[in-house]
Symmetry: C2
Amino acid sequence: MAQYSAQLDEVFVALADPTRREVIRRLGRGPLSVSDLGGAFPMTLPSFMKHIRTLESTGLIRTVKSGRVRTCVLNRERLAVVDSWLAEQRRIWEERTDRLESFVTDPKENHP
Amino acid sequence: MAQYSAQLDEVFVALADPTRREVIRRLGRGPLSVSDLGGAFPMTLPSFMKHIRTLESTGLIRTVKSGRVRTCVLNRERLAVVDSWLAEQRRIWEERTDRLESFVTDPKENHP
């Protein structure tokens, strides 16, 4: 549970930046080299590499070096922790709605 | 689009903290006073209030003061920006899968 929470912290921090979200979006279409990716962003390569390293350390992307080319690959499974968290919230909301409905339908029976 | 991106920044930052996620989870069951909520967390009230203010300024919760009691209410709609963003990523992944499938099925027709 603590590990899941720490993963959520990391992933949400990684997603709280427009450059990193755009990298994830572009890699959703397929792997790209760092230079092809970085060319699309108005920043220096060292600044861009910081974002790449954040994404890599969070596990949202992997990078593979072949010769002089470093290729970035999206790791979709990592985004699943966000899905799980949202699904948990929805479950809580639905339970609440069910409780309210049962109260409205038959207040005496369900809430003596 | 810039506004949507700024909203995502704010919401992801707000969600990147276990205390704030736990507040959202508890408020999913229904409104609670700040004192009822805060009692569950091992921190001082001023520290807890910082989290409440972050959640409020992001629009993830609303607070209403009545007499001496401040009540917190979850604003579920605000979490929808996260859903939208995830849905956009999935759409991109599916388009990619469709392209790969059409290439495998008939490479000449689709990629002359």
